[in-house]
Subunit: 307 residues, 4 copies
């Protein structure tokens, strides 16, 4: 057992640059990786929700694992999402990730059948022996319908193959409840999903965030993380305001739940970084929304502190 | 456009007989198909919820499509579930189903990302041109988080490639609302999922059911369907009572949502038809539950009318 | 213990005719009661959801109890809703109802605090000794957040002061599950709330319905009930179609959940029966919706069989 | 318009000391008020969720308003919950509160009928002219089923009679979204409900908390508030740990949602402050739970920093 968490800091959940329904935007992928890494991030998480993983074919998932690990080339740890409703396919992806050089895998509960908490624990006990890499759990009840209840996580933490948790529930009472468990596992990393909560969780001892906005503004989130872990409350407040502004503009332009990913991809396209094609059942913003994102981007750059 | 619905009657959602995590119980599959067909069913639906499809590897899904179509050999139409979060993988499965000789495919909404109703319609518009077989929609909000709202279905019915709907919402007000739409599409089939609702939906003009219990007692559901479509209310009441008894015993033995499929597989195993191994995240009943299912089976055979 | 249920047939949930926020439309109330009774209904239920009870002052609730009991004058049993978050206020209303001559009280679970099922059972055990009238339970999870789980109801049925259940869950699998319990309590009445389900529940042994539409078309629902209890499936289908049409027009005109009550009150106002003023937080339909309701009413009268 | 919010700091939601179903524990009430005020709190909120208001008779609600205002006697502002499903009864309570000398009223949305957001806005527009005291809105979706959506609150803030919001959603992304609106209303107070979130909200600019634990340990929450508003992160972390420990012990002893209020009342009873009788549908802890709460209290006093 290590003394320190494997992951700390900003580990952006990378969007998946696509050119068509089943084809990567290869040049966009390369530019995007370099753009994110130039911000000083502490890791890279591919094939998560922001990466539209469940919407991609398995062929394309394997391809993006290989290309990303090769492009990153060890500069930061690459984490690979293996969430799947099929146990076998999760294991297959994990093996592929290990061979490609990834450093960890990330898994939300299987999300079709609503399993009970004991079934979930048993599932994890059966899964981890098959995984060649340390596992970060991913709490995402809005999409999986299933929460890792505190007691479930407490018991799962007895399994040393489980290295951490990314919590995207947005429920801070829950988050604080989990933090208490870290006393028995000082090596366990506890990361927050929603970037609107990055400042406060790190101020109160969290280890960092899987911040979608770091696809566009990686240095903003890295600086916010550093200010919060250093206890600079004024700087945290200032940067938090910018984060909230991004959330209220770039992420809030469409009508549906998909507007966060659409906004991110649209902004990346406007910045010339990668294509904004989206996998079904979603579609890129049409021109009206695109113009609004463009104005928001300009306004953010002019009026908000971006480190 | 045909005048009559493609499907009417009992189309059992077949369980998937497994021997191990990624291996079919080949002999059990053969016996199970013959057992179901011997009951006079009107079709066979594989790779649905009862078939644990989302928990199976793609390799195994292709295998069961081939073996089932080959074993059925045209005696009844085989319907194949292609529900998937990935558009590409749904299309791949549909093509495989067509090559194997299936007669239709069945699809619930992509179930990871919560799509809006317009996104769902657009998704269907993009999907159907890629499908080589007629499509039956599958409403299953408890597992997909997403409903085909009545207005959405009404618009989807303008697409002639969409041949019917299987509704497993259990919401009869919704079901009756949909029935009104059949005026514009007399060829559209409207089937009910929960077998507890089979009698009343057919009494009021529904086309039949995708009844899980028909894995064990195929003739019971076929006879109930015939009584209801013939308007024999006394016989419907009598058989409905048996259906409710099965629901309250075989399906209600475990603590979790999975107890329906576990109960079905356990009963099939007790009957010597196929193995009761289950795909992760579920597990077969342990001995205590198995003994209870055994007693229930005996009691049903002794005390309830089974045609 | 009686051998027959206390209530069978159509027991309309009467709307509360208002002239202002805290004032009854006295003449409208008289006309409405006579209109409903003229349709041959089997009881009258006041201060339910359709009666906007939770939105009314206690003073007005007592007033409507007195006036209704006096006007009905024993022609049919009057049932009084006493649902409240406060135990004391429920008991106060029940006593008032008994003094005024009502024949029973109706109670949904207290709906602010989410009680557990055992707390709910204990609450009923404490409540019934304080009630001077037999109690009908009211299952309305969409508004109370709390369901009488089947096992809870099964245990509650051991309490002879509990005379029946009105189920407005719309969940027919649940309804059928409860029906099995009637074997131990042949005197227990099981009524259905949503009128879209009236035909099928009575065809399969239910005792009748608390049908909101009977405020306008009382004879329609009475006739449907009689056809269904007599087993005349063709007549049931025909009348059921009219019921569905009312549901799809009169009840579906507004944008919010309140559109059922708004539609009912608007139609009653157009018929010259009573005022359509509504208690906060709702408001009567404005002119555009009123014109649509008017057209719907005309169309129903012209094209649909109204007995 | 004032420049500063009317309320800042710790405004405990007082439990209602009861001796029987409809009778106050008069001496306990006096002791409780003095105990809370001795901790330096900045206000007192009666008849909220923690005060079991919806479960109390109107008679008792009026009594506790009078007695509390009289006992507090102007030392801190008294806020009175007027949440009700009936508009008239809310207004009645507000008038009573004003006459007794309260300084403000607090209102969650009417919680039986699920109103739309526009209906909710209109309801507020109709209500505030009838209220003799400034109104604090109360967001409590777990109990009311209805959220003040950000856009709804933004529009409600144009109404100067609405003085603030208490948010008990526990959704910090939502909370931060609301904070941005304070730019247009610097006099608007934004308080947090769950005390587990007190530290971080005040660190990031929130105005304080309605902390249930301040019934027992008022000085703890006051000191935490002061540390957070003064930016002393180490002290915040230390006191936050105690707050989390209370949450994980005193509040987590029972099986149901009611365990927070039960735990608070039980602890107050053990401390000799007031009776732990609870209004239906809840009941005081039995002896086993009481012994656990006793051990927790001892352990907290021995091992945790209580200012």
């Amino acid at each position: 057992m290590h003394e320190k968490p494997m992951l700390q800091g900003i580990i952006p959940p990378m969007v998946t640059p696509l050119q068509e329904r089943d084809q990567l935007d290869y040049e966009g992928l390369e530019r995007l990786i370099e753009h994110i890494l130039s911000g000083g991030v502490h890791g890279l998480f591919i094939l998560g929700t922001t990466g539209e993983a469940p919407s991609l074919s398995y062929r394309l998932r394997r391809e993006i694992i290989e290309l990303t690990c090769s492009q990153v080339n060890g500069r930061v740890p690459v984490m690979v999402g293996i969430t799947d409703t099929s146990f076998i396919e999760s294991v297959n992806l994990a093996r592929h990730a290990a061979e490609a050089g990834a450093k960890g895998v990330v898994l939300a509960p299987p999300y079709y059948f609503p399993a009970g908490q004991e079934e979930l624990l048993e599932y994890l006990d059966h899964l981890t022996p098959e995984l060649p890499l340390p596992l970060t759990l991913y709490n995402m009840p809005s999409h999986t319908k299933l929460m890792f209840e505190p007691e479930t996580l407490h018991r799962a933490m007895d399994n040393p193959a489980i290295a951490g948790l990314k919590d995207s529930s947005g429920d801070m009472v829950y988050f604080h409840r989990l933090q208490i468990f870290l006393e028995k596992r000082p090596d366990f990393h506890l990361l927050v999903g929603p970037e609107e909560l990055l400042g406060e969780t790190v101020l109160l001892g969290g280890h960092g965030g899987v911040s979608g906005g770091a696809n566009i503004f990686p240095r903003l989130y890295v600086t916010l993380y550093e200010a919060a872990s250093g206890g600079d409350r004024d700087r945290v407040e200032e940067l938090h305001r910018t984060v909230m502004h991004i959330s209220n503009t770039i992420y809030s332009t469409g009508r549906f739940n998909s507007s966060i990913i659409k906004g991110l991809k649209c902004a990346l396209s406007l910045e010339g970084i990668c294509d904004d094609f989206m996998a079904e059942p979603f579609h890129r913003f049409r021109d009206a929304e695109r113009q609004r994102i463009k104005r928001h981007l300009t306004e953010i750059k002019n009026n908000h502190p971006l480190p």
